[in-house]
């Protein structure tokens, strides 16, 4: 395959039923109303020369290269800013137009360095193309006049450079930053000849720029260009694949020289991102070939011995014999596995199949346990399916957007750009979050209400919202009558109407003024379309599942389900959280969310796999750890997860790992967990595999192999080999055959295959006989479970309480440039933005402790203590402190506790009682961790 060059229509492609018909260069063409003459011409296959237009941006009309002649109109209008009209007759080429265009080009070229042959954009420069297209042969003004050739390059961004000498001031970058990304970091400074692009009064790195790359992509010249292109030259072929970071699931063209990635370019046809990306997906892929990658399988007898490199056969044989030994000595239930949301559907499907079929128990869990398990429980209970209700596009139809416990501009940046676009168009915003996240006030966006609730009070808050809806007559009665279980609704309505749920009562738990909460509830309930978006600030609480049901209640009561612009939408953390959950990674469910105790389903799997299967639920991750400390659980296969860093109460996790006799880690790097492992199976990065990821909108996207696995085996092959060694043969020639099996055994996937995905780009499940095209929006005419179920959601405060010893509440989260435990992003230049975890603390709390920004502070909870730097910040409210968990050396999870969601055991990361004080030393845990890290990671020199 060569380089994919996507068609650029010059101006946005409009949708719509109504069409207009016109004649361009003698050819008749019909286009949706609102289409520009330029885009209409492109539909007819005519490329009108252009420089300032590109179809990701609204037309601007500054370069005057796209002039056309229109019968009956005077002059030569710009085709990019002129809408196509019924009956128009357009000429795109004539002597007059040719002359005008050459004149324009002459002006541009006279102020442009003529180093085309050595320019990094050579072969990918629109200025060069246009000079050719208009037939430029001479530059009458000469090259001697005033120019910008001495402009100083800005190399501050680690991934792209800005060379003002080559800028033609077409404004595309400025508009991309505004319209596509919504950051407004760039401006044109100066006027006339002096105009230049600038990221404010500083350089790119120091500016508001979030390094999304939209400006680089929009730039028609070499002015803004990827440093990797400068270094390596132009790519020669593209492979379309899916980002391996967050749950937005952006599609990219991996542009390559051979099997080396030159750059990642977001793919316009990607359903999730439509041509946009964030800094992680576009730029932070260098970890894939980082020198820390482990590419040889390794084993060791105990964690105190150095690792020994062995063959694949020996490593897999050793792991299998250890697991068999442990089951023979301690019982069938003494072993299990954890699968990863960073792996493909096919890979996680095989891990759970291995556990159920080869180990004969259901001790399989996935990292969704520690993030969105409550979403699964809550939405399944309310609506009948464990997934978000909308596609991302739906937000463009929302009138009021309610963001609860999510920070989309950091966690889900490309979706946030969509959301911000809608907000700039006038949709109203309500943010419920303890922190003043960026969305609360950003360029051209201001939340109508920021409900700064205290961590741990979500359910009191949602009940108060419901109280206002029910007692102020804001219920959508027709919707409730037609779509929901009335008995449940009435019981719920009586419950939320109780005085204890009134905002005036809940204020003492939430800290949110009653009047403001009432106003917010009215705004949401009386929006034409009210949409809820939420994140881990909802789920990672002792009442996470209750809160998910509380939001579902609120959406049903106000009729905000089952059409565009509404819904209850989880923003998923990792790229394949949705998929991992769908694939049967929970210990009580087969793929498609069917309980293991369901005889018919189990018998179907038994017949397909040829094995008797266990009908009892297995252990969840925290249960495995508890059982390990108790001595009943001895062996664990961990695929691509780093529980020693990501899971709460690190010391409890590592004690459990130390208590096990065989820990098998399959990963790219010797991560924190691998320090406690006995077998290391090298993993493969997303660039090294074929498979699929399912994003937060249930969209199944293909991941395509760009290079061979560095360790020689794909991850699915390793799992299949391990299962075979355990006496449960698995034979597939390609991941597509695994998907075929998934489709055979999973009702919501029966219409899914690689052939369908190749043909359609992506599909959103359910995709089956009832919905052959997939399902962008769920619960349209009826809920999956039949009627919508209202659940009573009593507020039960967490048992994690502040007191004199631990007077502050710590809540944790993440930031844009780093991803999860940071194993990947820490091995990229993204550390330029975030190279350590810091503690955000309100000025009031800082001052009373004598703390200033930049100082080392000790953060202590009942679980442990760590030291990190403080940043005094008014984004916090007094009494609440915040940190991230991206850096192993900080050990943020040494602080978090074993408290968890009542229904799913999802940890309560968001509420930990802590104390903060000044210090000048690392904590004891940090010191020991530093000493041990080297010890536990030793690799024996290879034998000659």
């Amino acid at each position: 395959m060569g380089l994919i060059r996507e068609t650029d229509f010059g101006t946005p492609v409009r949708q719509g039923e109504a069409t207009v018909s016109l004649v361009i260069d003698g050819q008749r063409v019909s286009v949706p109303a609102g289409t520009s003459v330029m885009a209409a011409a492109m539909h007819a296959g005519t490329k009108i020369p252009k420089l300032c237009a590109t179809d990701s941006l609204e037309p601007f009309g500054s370069c005057r290269l796209c002039l056309v002649e229109i019968e009956g109109r005077r002059g030569t209008p710009a085709s990019c800013t002129t809408p196509a009209e019924e009956g128009m007759v357009v000429r795109t080429h004539s002597d007059r137009l040719g002359k005008l265009r050459r004149g324009v080009m002459e002006l541009y070229i006279s102020d442009h360095p003529l180093d085309c042959l050595t320019c990094s954009a050579n072969g990918d420069c629109e200025l060069q193309d246009m000079a050719g297209a208009v037939g430029l042969r001479e530059v009458r003004y000469g090259y001697e006049g005033a120019n910008h050739f001495d402009g100083v390059k800005d190399e501050s961004n680690p991934y792209f450079s800005y060379d003002p000498a080559k800028c033609i001031v077409c404004n595309r970058c400025v508009r991309a930053c505004e319209e596509v990304q919504g950051t407004f970091a760039l401006t044109i400074t100066g006027r006339g000849f002096d105009s230049r692009v600038a990221p404010g009064l500083t350089d790119f790195l120091g500016s508001e720029c979030v390094s999304c790359g939209a400006c680089v992509q929009a730039c028609p010249t070499a002015t803004l260009i990827e440093k990797s292109v400068i270094e390596m030259g132009q790519p020669e072929k593209s492979v379309v694949t899916t980002c391996a970071y967050c749950g937005v699931g952006c599609s990219f063209k991996a542009e390559l020289q051979g099997d080396r990635v030159v750059r990642m370019v977001p793919f316009k046809q990607g359903g999730a991102n439509e041509g946009h990306s964030c800094v992680k997906g576009r730029f932070a892929w260098g970890y894939a070939t980082h020198r820390d990658r482990i590419t040889k399988p390794m084993i060791r007898g105990s964690i105190h011995e150095p690792w020994r490199e062995v063959s694949w056969a020996e490593a897999i044989g050793h792991a299998a014999s250890e697991f068999k030994r442990l089951q023979a000595s301690y019982g069938r239930d003494a072993v299990g596995a954890i699968s990863s949301s960073r792996c493909t559907n096919e890979e996680v499907f095989l891990v759970q199949k291995l556990v159920r079929g080869a180990l004969g128990n259901n001790n399989i869990d996935t990292c969704a346990r520690v993030c969105h398990a409550p979403t699964g429980y809550g939405l399944k209970t309310a609506f009948g399916t464990s997934a978000g209700t909308q596609d991302f596009k739906s937000v463009a139809k929302a009138d009021v957007i309610l963001v609860i416990g999510a920070n989309p501009t950091d966690g889900h940046p490309v979706f946030a750009s969509r959301m911000k676009r809608r907000l700039r168009q006038g949709a109203k915003l309500i943010v419920a979050d303890p922190r003043r996240i960026d969305l609360v006030r950003s360029p051209h966006i201001e939340a109508s209400h920021h409900l700064q609730l205290l961590p741990g009070s979500n359910v009191a808050f949602v009940n108060a919202m419901a109280h206002v809806v029910v007692t102020e007559g804001l219920v959508d009665e027709a919707f409730v009558r037609e779509r929901c279980d009335l008995g449940d609704f009435e019981a719920w309505a009586r419950f939320v109407a109780l005085a204890e749920n009134a905002p005036e009562e809940t204020e003492r738990f939430t800290g949110v003024p009653a009047a403001e909460l009432r106003a917010a509830a009215r705004l949401y309930a009386s929006a034409g379309n009210g949409a809820i978006y939420y994140g881990l600030g909802v789920t990672e609480h002792s009442q996470g599942s209750t809160m998910v049901m509380g939001m579902a209640n609120l959406a049903m009561a106000t009729g905000n389900i089952g059409r565009e612009g509404v819904g209850v939408n989880p923003l998923r953390g990792q790229n394949n959280v949705q998929g991992a959950c769908d694939m049967g990674s929970f210990p009580h469910e087969f793929s498609g969310y069917r309980h293991v105790a369901d005889d018919a389903t189990r018998e179907m799997f038994e017949a397909t796999w040829g094995r008797a299967l266990d009908g009892e639920p297995g252990l969840r991750i925290p249960n495995m750890l508890d059982e390990a400390i108790g001595g009943g659980f001895r062996g664990l296969y961990i695929q691509g997860e780093d529980i020693a860093q990501s899971d709460p109460n690190t010391q409890h996790v590592t004690a459990a790992l130390r208590a096990m006799e065989c820990v098998v880690v399959q990963d790219l790097f010797l991560n924190e967990t691998a320090q406690y492992a006995h077998v290391f199976l090298p993993g493969a990065s997303f660039l090294e595999k074929d498979g699929t990821f399912t994003n937060a909108e249930r969209r199944i996207n293909l991941v395509r192999k760009v290079m061979e696995p560095l360790a020689g085996m794909a991850e699915w092959e390793v799992t299949a080999a391990l299962a075979t060694a355990l006496g449960f043969p698995m034979r597939y020639d390609h991941p597509s055959e695994i998907m075929d099996e998934i489709a055979r055994v999973t009702p919501s996937f029966t219409g899914v295959s690689y052939a369908v995905l190749e043909a359609r780009g992506s599909v959103q499940w359910p995709c089956n006989a009832a919905a052959p095209e997939g399902t962008p929006i769920m619960h349209v005419d009826r809920f999956v479970r039949g009627t919508g179920k209202f659940m009573i959601t009593e507020f039960v405060p967490t048992e994690e309480r502040t007191g004199p010893r631990f007077p502050l509440i710590l809540t944790t989260g993440r930031i844009l440039s780093q991803y999860n435990v940071g194993q990947q992003t820490r091995r990229t230049a993204n550390t330029a933005w975030h190279d350590e975890d810091v503690l955000e603390i309100h000025p009031f709390d800082a001052e009373s402790r004598g703390i200033t920004s930049g100082e080392l502070v000790a953060l202590a909870s009942r679980s442990g203590e760590v030291s990190l730097r403080a940043v005094v910040s008014e984004r916090m409210q007094p009494g609440v402190v915040y940190t991230t968990f991206h850096h192993a050396r900080t050990g943020a999870n040494v602080i978090t506790t074993d408290y968890s969601d009542w229904a799913t055991n999802c940890p309560e990361y968001k509420v930990t009682a802590v104390q903060v004080r000044r210090t000048n030393a690392l904590s004891r845990w940090q010191e020991t961790h530093q000493q041990e890290a080297g010890q536990l990671r030793r690799i024996a020199p290879a034998a000659e």
């Binding site: 019982g331 069938r332 239930d333 259901n362 001790n363 419950f495 002792s542 009442q543 599942s545 209750t546 210990p587 009580h588 309980h595 105790a597 009892e616 639920p617 297995g618 252990l619 969840r620 249960n623 508890d626 059982e627 400390i629 108790g630 001595g631 009943g632 009573i792 009593e794 039960v796 074993d898 968890s900 009542w902 229904a903 799913t904 055991n905």
Partner: protein, 71 residues
Amino acid sequence: MTEVARLAWMAGRIAAAFDALPEEQAAAAIAAHINQFWAPPMRRGLLAADAAALAPRVRRALALVRPPASP
């Protein structure tokens, strides 16, 4: 074996989630939840726990918790 205190705490939180229900319904809901989500070693541990360590509503629900087959 998981510590009894931990199991008792987890069961207590489940009971609290169903606090709004009348006693009988609550017992059924608590037991159904435990039967659906708790692996055999955990149910075994809970069933063997000293009743005094358990919340009253959890005690009531125990009669409905499915005893796992012996390992």
